[in-house]
C-alpha cells in the first residue's frame, strides 16, 4: 500500500480513479481537482506516486510535473501523466516535463494499476539504494515530549519511505509503551552479543514502521560505546531509508557518535525557565553541528505559552516548528496508536509533518 496523489479537474474521473486505486490497488488516495491544490498536497503529504491530468484550467499538468520535479521533497516521486491527449507529441511533452510515464484516457484499469505499482516499487528500491537519513530527536531535559515527537516523526516519514525508529534510551525506553509493542527484542541483545544481526532485532509496528527498542530492564545490558553504536547504525542503514533516533538526555561519546552521523538534529525545547536554560546550554554543546540543527518547541501541557518571538530572542535561534498541546496524544498512546497515522489533521501531526518536510528538505 502506498500513498497516491490524483490530480484531475474532472470530478467523475477523480472519483473513479480514487475508487480504483483504493479498492483494487489498496492504495491511500489524495484526490485534488486542480494543480495548485495538488502541489500543496504533494509537498505536505509527499505521496509515492502522482497521477496528473494535463488539461486542467489554471495550471496545466505539465506545469504541475515541472514544479514537482523542481522541489526537493517531490523530485523523486513517481509521476504518471494520464490524459485524453494521447498523441506521440503529448507523450514526448509529458516525458520532457519530467513525468515517468504517459497514459491515454480512457486507461485500462489493470495497466494503470500495474504502472502505479511499478513506480511505487521503484521508489522503494531507489529509496533503499540512496543515502540513509539519520535524524536524532533530542533534549537534555526530560518531559518535553522527545519520544512523542520521535515516534510521530518516524510515523510521518514512514509514509514517504521505509523508516526505522531507534529507541536509544539506556533502559526502560518509552517507545515500546507508546507503540504498544512488547520489548522482546532490543539493541541490548546486540550489545551483549555483537554477532547478532541488528536487523534481526527490529520489530514492526502495525503501520509498517520498523522499531529497534531499548532494553526493558535497567542495568541488565551495557550501554554501547562509540564504535558499537556506529556499527549498529551501519547495520540498520541497510534496511531502511530514514532512521529516527529517540535520544537519551545524555551527551557522552555514544550520543556524539550518533549526532556525528546525523543529517539533521531535532532539538526540542519547552518554554519554562529550566527548559530554556537547558536548551541554551545544549545549543552551545551542539555548536559544531549548528548547520544541521532544527529547533522546535513542543507543548506538553495545556495553558498559556510565551510567544515564539520571545523564545527565539532568548535562545537566539529561530524556531522551525512550534507544536501546540494536543489532547489527542494521550488517548492514542493508551491504544498503542501512532497519532500521525490515525489523526492526520491533529495539531501534533500537522506540526510533525512540517518538521518532516524541513528534515527532508534541508
Amino acid at each position: 500500500m502506498a500513498r497516491v496523489l490524483v490530480i484531475d479537474d474532472n470530478i467523475d474521473m477523480l472519483s473513479m480513479l480514487k475508487l480504483i486505486l483504493e479498492r483494487q490497488g489498496h492504495h491511500e488516495v489524495i484526490a485534488c481537482s486542480n494543480g495548485q491544490e495538488g502541489l500543496q498536497k504533494a509537498f505536505e503529504q509527499m505521496p509515492a506516486v502522482a497521477l496528473v491530468d494535463v488539461m486542467m484550467p489554471g495550471m496545466s499538468g505539465y506545469d504541475v510535473v515541472k514544479k514537482l520535479r523542481a522541489d526537493e521533497r517531490t523530485q523523486n516521486m513517481g509521476i504518471i501523466i494520464l490524459t485524453a491527449r494521447g498523441q506521440s507529441v503529448d507523450r514526448a511533452a509529458a516525458l520532457a516535463a519530467g513525468a515517468d510515464d504517459h497514459m491515454s484516457k480512457p486507461a485500462d484499469v489493470e495497466t494503470l494499476l500495474k504502472r502505479v505499482n511499478e513506480l511505487v516499487e521503484r521508489g522503494a528500491s531507489k529509496a533503499q539504494k540512496s543515502e540513509v537519513l539519520v535524524v536524532p530527536v533530542l533534549s537534555l531535559k526530560g518531559g518535553v515530549g522527545v519520544t512523542t515527537v520521535a515516534i510521530n516523526l518516524a510515523g510521518v516519514l514512514q509514509q514517504v519511505a521505509p523508516t526505522l525508529l531507534l529507541d536509544l534510551a539506556p533502559a526502560c525506553g518509552q517507545c515500546a509503551f507508546f507503540l504498544g509493542i512488547r520489548p522482546e527484542q532490543h539493541w541490548g541483545q546486540y550489545v551483549e552479543n555483537p554477532k547478532t544481526s541488528a536487523a534481526s532485532l527490529v520489530q514492526q509496528h502495525t503501520t509498517g514502521l520498523k522499531v529497534l527498542l531499548a532494553p526493558p530492564i535497567p542495568a541488565q545490558f551495557g550501554w554501547p560505546n562509540k564504535d558499537r553504536v556506529e556499527m549498529l547504525l551501519a547495520q540498520l542503514k541497510a534496511v531502511t531509508r530514514f532512521i529516527v533516533v529517540d535520544m537519551p538526555p545524555l551527551f557522552d561519546e555514544t550520543v556524539r557518535a550518533v549526532l556525528g552521523q546525523a543529517h539533521r538534529i531535532v532539538l526540542i525545547t519547552g518554554d519554562d525557565a529550566p527548559s530554556l536554560q537547558v536548551t541554551r546550554i545544549t545549543l552551545q554543546a551542539l555548536n559544531e553541528w549548528k548547520d544541521r540543527l532544527i529547533l522546535i518547541r513542543n507543548a506538553t501541557a495545556v495553558g498559556p505559552r510565551p510567544p515564539a518571538d520571545a523564545l527565539q530572542k532568548a535562545l537566539r535561534v529561530p524556531l522551525a516548528v512550534d507544536i501546540p498541546y494536543d489532547p489527542n496524544q494521550l488517548p492514542a498512546v493508551a491504544k498503542g496508536l501512532l497519532l500521525a497515522s490515525v489523526q492526520p489533521k491533529s495539531a501534533l501531526t500537522v506540526g510533525v509533518k512540517r518538521l518532516a518536510q524541513i528534515a527532508i528538505a534541508r
Binding site: P57, S60, Q87, P106
Partner: protein
C-alpha cells in the same frame, strides 16, 4: 474504464489544435458534425494549442462555439466516438487506402465505399455530406513531418481537401 457521455476529440482548424469535450446527449459527435442544417458546434472545456507547438496549451475555454465550415478535420481515438449512428451498422464493403491534404496536414487512412471500382473524382463530386470519414488515420504536419497524430476516425472537411487520391500499394 467505463465510457461516459463525454467524448474528448481533437479539432484542427486554421493552424490550431483544440482538444475539447463533446457531451453526447441526443446525437453522436459525427451526426452533429455531418448535419448540414447547422453551422455551429458547441464544445466544452476546450484546450487550444498552436499546431507548430501542439503539446503546449496556449488557451483554455470552458465553452467554445465552432464554425463547422472552418474545421479542417476532427480526430477521435476511439472508433465508436467518431462514427455516425448509421455507420455503426455498416460503412461499405470495400476499403480504399486514401491519401489527402488539408491546410498544414497530410492525412492517410482507409475509406469505406460501396462500389468496388473506386473513382476519387466521382466520390468527391457525388457523395453526400460536407465531411468524409476515414478509419485508422495517420496525420502528419506538413511543415514538421516528425509531428504525427494517430486516430481511429478522422472526419475531414470535404471543402478543405486539396489533394485526394488512392494511396499506391
Amino acid at each position: 474504464m467505463q465510457r461516459s457521455n463525454r467524448i474528448i476529440a481533437e479539432f484542427f482548424a486554421q493552424g490550431y489544435r483544440v482538444s475539447g469535450t463533446y457531451v453526447v446527449t441526443k446525437r453522436f459527435l459525427a451526426d452533429e458534425i455531418y448535419d448540414p442544417t447547422t453551422n455551429y458546434f458547441l464544445l466544452e472545456e476546450a484546450y487550444l494549442s498552436p499546431i507548430i507547438d501542439p503539446a503546449r496549451i496556449s488557451a483554455y475555454y470552458t465553452l467554445v462555439l465552432f464554425d463547422k465550415s472552418t474545421l479542417d478535420f476532427v480526430l477521435t481515438v476511439d472508433k465508436k466516438d467518431g462514427l455516425r449512428r448509421d455507420q455503426l451498422y455498416g460503412m461499405g464493403n470495400y476499403q480504399v487506402p486514401i491519401f489527402l491534404t488539408v491546410p498544414f496536414f497530410e492525412i492517410s487512412g482507409t475509406l469505406f465505399v460501396i462500389n468496388k471500382n473506386f473513382n476519387p473524382r466521382l466520390y468527391l463530386s457525388t457523395e453526400a455530406g460536407i465531411f468524409i470519414t476515414l478509419v485508422d488515420v495517420t496525420v502528419r504536419s506538413t511543415f514538421n513531418p516528425d509531428i504525427s497524430y494517430q486516430g481511429a476516425i478522422a472526419l475531414i472537411n470535404r471543402a478543405h481537401i486539396s489533394f485526394f487520391g488512392e494511396k499506391a500499394g
